[in-house]
Symmetry: D2
Subunit: 337 residues, 4 copies
């Protein structure tokens, strides 16, 4: 931690800060420059991070040296984490594609999509039973019935399933029926929910919030790991910017940035990240080229009748075609699909 | 709803759309322009809003005519809503200032702050018992004990109390001890939580999410009203932008914008909206001048020792001075304090 | 300057950095912590700032201690700068309101507005002769004829005039006819233009770019001061965010932030900062309450016929009413108007 | 154009709007819905776009049907534009990579980089003679001497050269020495500069401004085409967002979005779009996978000594390696390099 003092800081103020630092058991080192005096603090930065040093008299600014997260960092664990899902490996050389309808609407449709995406090469079935909708007037999901449909679709196709958990009272239910618990963008900083899934044994896919920095995302993941669950898959799904041509702006830079900072696998959701099915193929290919460990894509046989996110859902045949192209891009960057 | 067709849209495609619109019970009106054909739809727009018309073949774009929210809109209720809190009126001519420490840390400190802010003219005591913290290593609040301290502080000072609800399992507890339930920025789209407080009888203060548009905020409020609770107070607390000098960018434009669109009262939180106590006074005065119905401000007698948000907490004496200045600004714009 | 090394940095790498720092004439101080070694550099930080130290082997990050600007900083000049415009003082206790049509359209209209805003208490007449328009199909301004109209309006009313300079080939022309040269938001980083007005003797009003941080704005102002012109007035006019209810988001936080960092006066443009005339009054009052030194407001007698920015132009009678209210707010915060 | 009226709009107000529309020679069609009356206007929307209809009494909002640009639109010209540069084709099946140092520093270095990037497969040499720098204390470029170095490097290597034009007084000079004129992000809305290069015969590479929407970018390109120069290459180089891990956020969504809206070729600049050389390879590959027509990349043999943008410059050997990988990705998506 570096504490930069104001030019006019007095000796009494410096002493006050030094006393505080020492009282926590850390060692301050004063360095008097021409324009500023700075105090470097040696020792466990975490002890100091929670202190509001910015407001100590005479302090101009405080600059942390270390990242605020630990367990998720590559410094803590240099090798890539591979999350095991029912025999499937997420984060290895082979890419993982999760596909399916935005919301579970009925069993026939779900099963039909499941079969089609499996044939095309997807290895996880996605589908929402509980839907976070901006408007209270939109379809809110089938709830428990949707979970049961997912479990049945798994039984019939062998595809593990991922579904979103919104309400921590539903945790047990979701754990029972799903293989991966999804935490949606709007709940990325629902800390009680993070703690609960941290106590679960199931793998968790954590989506980046639309206003979350990469650091915020990693701190939210830290909540899960710190509570004991190391099976976390991160997911970039677009951030909010001033651009209005697309619903969100997929932050492709975040892929290699996260790979540098963390050992956790990272997926990309080009369906939510663009909001338009026609943009999914180029962005899906870009994500693979940028180093993502996989994709999560919305597929619906009749987008015109989809109860949720129709505009960003691909037709199964278009998805199959995309998978063929993705295989080529994966090979071009040394991955498999 | 206006459906704009692509220049190359065929008659079959137009017929397909027209059939869909009629099947929902609405009346399409086709207008053939030189460069585009458009279909105007007359009738309840909500019925069409949930249809993914954007992806119907031949459609270029779909433009809604009406706002997606109803109960919160000024069109639904032209007169200002005044929320009653324990005899206090939020949204009337007299401004309401809620003040207190970010987190409840211990009873003595809470009581002392409560007395001081009351003396200065605050009419509600704020304090967090459950704290949403970006990092799992930060102080997470006292929980139920903190709620009891708040209730006791109310008993001794007469100030109604506001506190944040994060976990819907705590709703009953919070309802028992607090007069206003706060939904924080990070939970603005925690829809299950919104539904639950919608079923409560207690007034709710709903903070704008850091990536939420005004429309998103109003839709979240709609969840609460739609579930039966009309006692909602909105709160602008800063949005996320590229500027790094302040933690967030207070969106002052939002005050009159919301006043135009909605009948609900709106408060401003200059403490979170700036992240620096030195910026609270000018922004608090600006908020009052812009037409806010009140303020929520963090006050702490020893910010250096605050367990949460020290840098943005004002000293009680600085808060008292600010209240004097606020009174002048309030009078200058025809309000009282 | 603080140079933070990677955990795995070698002695050879440290030596390489130390040699570089010494070669520039600065003094490196190595501090070996438990988790990181850091190198503090004492001496003129500017010498090091232009070196790409981030990419030296073994470097994790580089953290500057000082602000990158000098002449505009309050550290360089602690007292407020008051810019003299034709006898008028911008930046003193008395607020300055600049008002007039967005574009100069014809002389009669300009003169009529000039008289009306003067009567209402404005002290500078604004009007664009050269108009920066997003679309090439929009009205581009009257050019030199517009400048002459402004000069003539000044002659008749006594109001000094401000107008935008877009093309540096027009500098002499603008200098001849105007009292304040405006640099628009889109040209805030047109560095050649900044250098040219830096060599001018005329006061310059520099508008913040829509994606410019406060630091960027101050660095652009630094270009002007560094070239010899210290008569710079800053202007906050809204930044680009994800919110779409208003054209831009007025960053009210920036007012006190800039007051802390710089000695230059700062004005607010609520017309461009909102894009809607109905929002101008509350935001103008907020700006004054937040500590702005004045306002620049668009006024047009027939907004329906305005060739530019009609939606954000106030009627003269509405402007007169606003001025009365602004006087009250100004007094409430210890200023005059 | 669709004009939506307020619920309380009177017949007199409707008549007033209708009269206005007719006076411009357009045909209004009134449609009275249950909740709103709307007026559709048939005919050339451009005539109405410049009218401030939003502020006509009784108007709630105005919604344009057509895009505000013409010549750059795919509707105007359905087939891809291929810009010819000295025999080279930009926008065809074969990707174009422009590479070289950020700034021209001296001839030897420039020539050496030119030879290396040519050998690696680059087909255009980039290098700045005039540098737009945020700080006045940064290196501002060699000016005319730098242009001569570029021309000489072209003579020796055969590589056409691209360089930035900042000051329109330098247009003739730049035209004489360079093959492509670059308009930088900070000048994307320097409309006088756009008009001037619109009158030039040289191809223009137009970079997206950091706060510019795709629509703004296309409108700026429209300025160039409208003045007679159809040889425009667009360039995505990152937009400003709240994320601080990278200097900018590359908007990869914009590639297919622009391909849909416009016939102009689009390049990506991963050097500026990330600000860190280590992120250039994954983002360059992503850009190609997303459908970009080429790349512009900063290469410097001694980034530690670069006078500008060292942190984002690649070493020549790293660039060569990247080119090999890019070839594979290009082939995977049906392109060549």
């Amino acid at each position: 931690m570096i504490i930069v003092l104001k030019p006019e800081a007095t000796e009494a103020q410096i002493k006050h800060i030094v006393t505080k630092v020492k009282s926590i058991g850390l060692k301050p080192m004063i360095s008097r420059g021409i324009e500023r005096t700075i105090i470097g603090v040696i020792g466990e930065e975490d002890l100091l991070r929670v202190q509001p040093l910015e407001i100590f008299p005479g302090v101009e600014k405080v600059m942390p040296i270390l990242a605020p997260y630990k367990l998720v960092s590559r410094e803590f664990k240099p090798s890539d984490t591979v999350v095991q899902v029912d025999g499937l490996r997420v984060g290895g050389k082979r890419l993982v594609v999760m596909a399916g309808p935005c919301a579970v609407e009925n069993f026939e449709l779900l099963l039909s999509v499941a079969k089609q995406v499996k044939r095309a090469g997807a290895s996880v079935l996605r589908g929402g039973a509980f839907k976070p909708r901006t408007s209270p007037y939109s379809f809110q999901g089938l709830g428990e019935e949707g979970l049961k449909f997912l479990a049945e679709a798994k039984k019939r196709t062998g595809l593990p399933v991922i579904t979103e958990l919104m309400d921590l009272r539903d945790l047990e239910l979701v754990e029972r029926h799903a293989d991966i618990i999804q935490i949606g963008a709007r709940n990325m900083q629902n800390f009680d929910l993070l703690k609960e899934v941290g106590r679960s044994k199931k793998p968790v896919l954590l989506k980046r919030g639309m206003a979350a920095t990469v650091k915020d995302l990693l701190l939210s993941a830290e909540y899960i790991l710190q509570n004991g669950n190391f099976n976390v898959i991160l997911c970039e799904r677009g951030i909010r910017t001033f651009e209005t041509e697309t619903r969100f702006t997929l932050d492709m830079n975040a892929i290699p940035v996260i790979k540098n900072l963390s050992h956790l696998p990272i997926l990309v959701d080009p369906s939510h990240g663009t909001g338009r099915w026609g943009l999914v193929p180029p962005l899906a290919k870009a994500a693979v080229a940028a180093g993502a460990d996989g994709l999560i894509i919305e597929v619906h046989p009749k987008p015109e009748e989809a109860l949720s996110d129709g505009p960003q859902s691909m037709l199964p045949e278009k998805f199959s075609k995309l998978m063929v192209e993705l295989k080529r891009v994966a090979r071009a960057v040394g991955r498999e699909l």
